[in-house]
C-alpha cells in the first residue's frame, strides 16, 4: 500500500476516534468554531449570507405589517428554536445529541423566515454557549439556516406533491435537511483547508466521512423528534399553525396522520 495512503487512513482514524472521545455533543462540535476559518473565508461566507438575511427580514416585515401578532409568535418560536437546539435527544449510539431544528423551522416558517431565526439562534449559541462563533457566523448560517432549510423545505414540498404520507415527508425533510447542513459544512471546511495532496475534494471527503459517523444517527433522531413535534402541534395548535401558514403558503400539516405516539 502506498505510504501516504496509509498515513491518511491513520489520520482519519485518529480523527474519528478523537471526535468521538472529545465530543459527545457532536451537533455542537459540528458548527464551525470561532477562529477556525481564515479571515477571507469568514468574510466570504458572511457576504454570501447577507442577501438571504435581507430577503428573510423583508419577507418577515411584510407579513408582520399585515399580521402584527406574528412578530410575537415568531419571537416565541425563535426562543423555542434555541431551547430545542440545547435539548438532549437520545440517539442510537446510546449517547445524547442536540437537534438542529432545521427541518422543523423550515416546514413551520418557510426557508426565508427560518434564515433570520436560524441566524439569531446561531448568534445566541456563539455568545452564550461558545458553540460556533461570530467570525464563522456567515458560514454556519449558510449551512444551517440557508442550505439546510431550503433542502428540507424542498423535500417536504416535493414528497407531499408525490403523495407521500405526512410523517414520511416530515421525517425525511428533517433528517435529510440535517444531513445536508453537514455536507455543506464539509464543503466549507474543504474549501478553507484543502488537503496537501488531493486538494479541496479530498479534504471535503475527509470531513464528510467524519460527519457520517456522528451525523447519520443524529439525523434519524432528529427526524423522529420532528415528527413527534408535528403530531403534538397538529392536535393542540391548529389555530397557531393556521396563523403560521402565512409564512409558507398553504399545505401545513393539519390532519392527524403522524407516527402513532
Amino acid at each position: 500500500m502506498n505510504l501516504s495512503k496509509v498515513k491518511k487512513i491513520g489520520l482519519l482514524i485518529t480523527y474519528v476516534i478523537g471526535v468521538y472521545i472529545v465530543f459527545p455533543d457532536s451537533a455542537y462540535a459540528m458548527h464551525i468554531m470561532e477562529g477556525f476559518l481564515p479571515f477571507n473565508w469568514a468574510a466570504f461566507w458572511m457576504v454570501a449570507m447577507v442577501p438571504f438575511v435581507i430577503l428573510g427580514v423583508r419577507s418577515i416585515k411584510k407579513t408582520v405589517t399585515l399580521y402584527p401578532n406574528l412578530k410575537m409568535l415568531l419571537g416565541m418560536a425563535g426562543a423555542f428554536a434555541f431551547v430545542l437546539s440545547a435539548m438532549k435527544i437520545p440517539s442510537v449510539t446510546g449517547s445524547c445529541s442536540h437537534p438542529t431544528g432545521v427541518g422543523l423551522g423550515a416546514i413551520l416558517f418557510g426557508p426565508t423566515a427560518m434564515t433570520v431565526l436560524g441566524m439569531i439562534v446561531l448568534i445566541f449559541q456563539a455568545i452564550l454557549l461558545a458553540h460556533g462563533g461570530l467570525t464563522t457566523l456567515g458560514a454556519n448560517t449558510f449551512s444551517m439556516a440557508i442550505v439546510g432549510p431550503l433542502v428540507s423545505y424542498a423535500i417536504y414540498k416535493g414528497l407531499k406533491k408525490l403523495g407521500a404520507p405526512q410523517w414520511l415527508s416530515i421525517f425525511l425533510a428533517a433528517a435529510l435537511g440535517d444531513l445536508m447542513t453537514y455536507v455543506t459544512t464539509s464543503f466549507q471546511l474543504g474549501l478553507a483547508f484543502p488537503a496537501a495532496t488531493g486538494g479541496v475534494m479530498a479534504s471535503v471527503i475527509k470531513f464528510m466521512s467524519i460527519f457520517a459517523f456522528t451525523q447519520v444517527p443524529l439525523a434519524i433522531s432528529e427526524g423522529i423528534l420532528t415528527v413527534m413535534v408535528f403530531n403534538v402541534l397538529s392536535v393542540y395548535s391548529q389555530k397557531e399553525l393556521q396563523v403560521l401558514s402565512v409564512f409558507t403558503g398553504k399545505g401545513l400539516p393539519s390532519s392527524k396522520q403522524g407516527v402513532k405516539a
Partner: protein
C-alpha cells in the same frame, strides 16, 4: 454551561462589568475579527495572553473558561496534528510506528500553532464578552451598529423567554424521568423528548397570543416602538479605554503586515 449561570455571571460587578457595554462589545467583536486576520502565530498568542489576563479581572475560576475552551481545544489539537504531519517540506522529526512513518514539518508546526492560537484567542475573547456583558446590552449595541431592528427585536424577545421555555422543558422531562422514562428504548425516549418539544412549542405559541393581548391593552399600534435601552451617554473614561484598546488592535494588525 447553563444559561442561568451565565446570566448571573454577566450581572456581576467588576471593572470589566462596569465598563460601558457599547464600547466593550464593539471592541471585543473587533478583537475577535483581528484574531482571524493575524498571520503570525506569536502575534495571535500575544492576543490570547492579553485576553487571559483580562479574564483574570473577572474574578472567575479558570474552570469557567475551561468549560468553554475544551471542545474547541479538542478540535484544535486534532487540526494541529493533521497540519503538523501533512503540511510543508522542511522535516522537523519523524515518528515511526511499525511501518508508518509520520514526518512533522516546520511549516505545519507554524500553521498548526497559528490555528490553535486563533481558536483559543477568539473563543476566549468571546467568552469574556459574554461573561462581562448582559446579552441584552450586546444585542442593543448591535442595534446601534445598524443591525436591522427586526432582528434585534426578535432576538431580545427570544432571550426574554428562553428561560421560561427551558424551565418548562426541563420540568416535563423530569416528570417523564420520575415515571421511569429513561427505563425504555432509545426510540421511545427520542419520541418522549419529541413530545416535550411539541408541548413546549405549543405552549410558547399560546403564550405569544397572550403577550400580544397584553401589548394591545397597553396601546400597541403599528407605530409602536420600545424605549431606548441605553439612556446615558458613554462616559469619557470608558471612551478612552475603548480607544486605547482599538489602538492596540491596530498596532497588532500593522505589526502583522510589517513582519
Amino acid at each position: 454551561m447553563e444559561l442561568a449561570v451565565l446570566d448571573k455571571i454577566a450581572a456581576a460587578d467588576t471593572p470589566l462589568h462596569r465598563w460601558d457595554g457599547r464600547v466593550k462589545t464593539v471592541l471585543f467583536l473587533s478583537a475577535i475579527i483581528v484574531s482571524t486576520v493575524l498571520n503570525h502565530w506569536y502575534l495571535v498568542a500575544g492576543l490570547w495572553l492579553v485576553a487571559l489576563a483580562s479574564f483574570r479581572t473577572l474574578n472567575l475560576t479558570w474552570r469557567h473558561l475551561f468549560i468553554r475552551l475544551y471542545i474547541p481545544f479538542g478540535i484544535a489539537w486534532l487540526v494541529f496534528l493533521s497540519l503538523l504531519f501533512t503540511n510543508g517540506s522542511h522535516a522537523l522529526f519523524v515518528i515511526s510506528l511499525r511501518q508508518l512513518n509520520l514526518t512533522a514539518y516546520r511549516e505545519g508546526l507554524q500553521l498548526g500553532f497559528l490555528l490553535v492560537f486563533r481558536i483559543m484567542a477568539a473563543v476566549t475573547l468571546g467568552s469574556i464578552l459574554s461573561f462581562s456583558t448582559p446579552m441584552i446590552e450586546i444585542l442593543e449595541t448591535l442595534r446601534l451598529c445598524k443591525v436591522p431592528d427586526l432582528i434585534i427585536d426578535l432576538a431580545a424577545m427570544m432571550y426574554r423567554y428562553v428561560f421560561i421555555l427551558t424551565e418548562t422543558g426541563h420540568n416535563m422531562r423530569r416528570a417523564q424521568l420520575s415515571r421511569m422514562g429513561d427505563n425504555t428504548s432509545w426510540l421511545r425516549q427520542a419520541r418522549d423528548v419529541g413530545k416535550v418539544a411539541g408541548y413546549v412549542l405549543t405552549k410558547s405559541l399560546e403564550r405569544s397570543i397572550r403577550i400580544y393581548k397584553a401589548m394591545l391593552s397597553r396601546g400597541y399600534n403599528e407605530n409602536s416602538t420600545g424605549a431606548d435601552f441605553f439612556t446615558v451617554p458613554v462616559s469619557k473614561t470608558d471612551w478612552r479605554i475603548g480607544l486605547l484598546g482599538a489602538a492596540s488592535l491596530t498596532v497588532l494588525v500593522v505589526l502583522n503586515l510589517m513582519l
